[in-house]
């Protein structure tokens, strides 16, 4: 059963130079207990997508969607009051940068307890016990004594774990984690991801993992959505997307990363030339065409390239047929 269904979600931000379209017609769904990874580079709209779902967009931005259902309830027409009942309780978010998302003026204990006190009828004592329980769960030793500490007294890794504990306080059905491990050491990263997976199993949470780290995606995601320039350009299971990437952008990304044991040390890495296009004003054709080695006339059509289905649960946004693409890549390589 899908806990969150998003159809044709767009975000527009009016700027002096025209309207910016950072998120364009995104559709996906997440099932209970499963992990969807949204992967893409900075500026592709992945963070704004998550903010749009939580309705935490900046005031200038407008959100539109044909469907935005969370646990059988539409979020589109919900008042801010009703939305804030859901936010932090049934749906919570782990933000990317714990230094700026924790309040420096309050001890972490207060900040942890806040969401439980807001959403549940619990005493201070009970909230405190829950905070200690979760801090221990996320691997913070001497949790009791940490409650009185301020964010600046904790290291980056500890702050990130506090953020995760905070997201779990009310036992949400859906967690949106925006780059939860980017700032951490590899050893801690592995442990935090393992922990998230355990907690997910234990509480049956759905997880939307937003990241640019393809290694993390491959290891933890059930389904993957690759974003580029505000659009989803490829979806499928992790297995499908990594074993048989279809969209030229996905292929390019995978060639960029050195893989120990596979990439010859010191050999030049693949790279994607050029930069992300501006998303201001009217957009048409394929957004990746300026950087794509397989681009041709059909990529510059006046319409937006539609999402095509390879099979029921695997989509890609490219005019080329994936079966013929291998041949074209070989040709482009020869030229």
């Amino acid at each position: 059963m899908s806990i969150l269904t998003v159809e044709n979600l767009s975000v527009d931000i009016p700027l002096a130079g025209g309207v910016l379209h950072p998120v364009r017609d995104i559709s996906f769904s997440v099932e209970a207990g499963k992990t969807l990874a949204i992967v893409g580079e900075s500026g592709c709209g992945k963070s704004l997508t998550s903010l749009a779902i939580m309705e935490l967009l900046p005031t200038a931005a407008t959100r539109s969607a044909t469907r935005l259902d969370f646990a059988g309830q539409s979020l589109l027409s919900l008042s801010e009051r009703r939305m804030s009942d859901i936010r932090g309780d049934r749906m919570s978010m782990i933000f990317q940068d714990p230094m700026t998302s924790l309040n420096p003026a309050y001890p972490i204990g207060d900040q942890l307890e806040e969401s439980l006190l807001r959403h549940r009828k619990v005493t201070r004592r009970e909230a405190r016990d829950r905070a200690v329980y979760l801090l221990e769960k996320v691997g913070i030793t001497a949790a009791e004594s940490r409650l009185g500490q301020y964010p600046h007294q904790l290291s980056g890794g500890l702050r990130q774990r506090v953020m995760i504990a905070m997201g779990l306080m009310c036992g949400p059905e859906l967690i949106i984690a925006d780059e939860p491990t980017t700032a951490l050491d590899v050893t801690i990263q592995a442990q935090i991801l393992l922990l998230l997976a355990d907690l997910q199993k234990e509480f049956g949470m759905a997880l939307i993992l937003i990241t640019h780290d393809l290694g993390v995606v491959a290891r933890v995601a059930d389904r993957v959505a690759v974003m580029y320039a505000g659009q989803i350009v490829e979806t499928g299971t992790a297995e499908q997307v990594f074993r048989e990437p279809t969209h030229p952008y996905t292929r390019g990304l995978l060639e960029c990363i050195p893989i120990p044991g596979k990439t010859a040390p010191g050999s030049p890495l693949g790279s994607i030339p050029g930069i992300v296009p501006s998303l201001i004003g009217e957009l048409h054709g394929c957004s990746f065409r300026d950087r794509c080695e397989l681009a041709h006339e059909a990529c510059a059509v006046p319409e937006i390239i539609p999402m095509r289905e390879l099979d029921a649960r695997r989509g890609y946004r490219c005019v080329l047929d994936p079966r013929s693409m291998a041949g074209e890549i070989a040709e482009a390589g020869l030229q």
């Binding site: 980056g156 050893t187 290694g215 491959a218 990594f242 074993r243 960029c256 990363i257 120990p260």
Partner: protein
Amino acid sequence: MSAVIAEKEPVTALETVDVRKTYHVGRGIFSGGRALHAVNGVSLRVQEGSVLGLVGESGCGKTTLAKMLLGLETPTSGEIRVLGEAVGSFDRKRMARRVQPIFQDPYSSLNPRKSISSIISLPLRVHGLGDRAEVARRVAEIMELVGLPRRMAECYPSQLSGGQRQRVAVARALIMKPEVVICDEPTSALDVSVQAQILNLLQDLRTELGLTYIVISHNLAVVEHIATEVAVMYLGRIVERADTRTLFRDPKHPYTKALLASVLTPEPGLGVPDTRLGLAFPNPVDPPSGCTFHPRCAEVLEKCPREAPQMRVVDRTEVECHLYN
């Protein structure tokens, strides 16, 4: 410079002999403070033209070591030699000509109010090298070398993408023609496609200019790709050192094994490994007794908490662990 490399005898570009750095962490104005051994006896030798990868968790002292190599911190004891000359005898400027840094975050390491040409030429102006025409010529030359279009010379950092900013940082480091470049997490603030471009650039420049790199990174895939040898640091000490191939094929120290196990390669279906390290990185003010890694070690022996291990050479690896005594 390439002629030097071709000679039989390799030249040591950079050497540290039992370098230590101790900070005193105060607990108040009246107590004397407690000693924090950020770097606790590091001896390294980097051959000219090679790339040393320095890996370890945050707080292990890799950045302190890098600062000392750059001359930004003075070691409490021990000696650092650049091309055979002790650094203590250098003044700051002379050091800066030979060793240059590339920092992690190109968003905060470039002055937002200076133009690109002014940022890149600053080292020349500080050292009083060349007149205006000469400076302009060298800026144009280095910008071309790192792949920055000439029209960007009068741009400001805010007008550049992350990859372009990091190219500016590389250009600024190389304009003095240093022998050694210290790259502290050179690509971790960048997107993967840009990371690949910068890594390719660093590789090309190394072969072209015969540079020596020390690459500090927590991304082991990057280190494996770019480094010729790797040193693993834990709580201020180098616990294992070997050439890259050996270290990645046959890691000896349990900590290195755990580090390598936690690298998430993009291979679906493998899941997240359990490194069994435990979450707690020890408090460096109050390090564990004996081998400082013993509380987190999966292969701990009886004597580990009592006795600190000595550096041994096993096969072609230097390792500091009781398992190999």
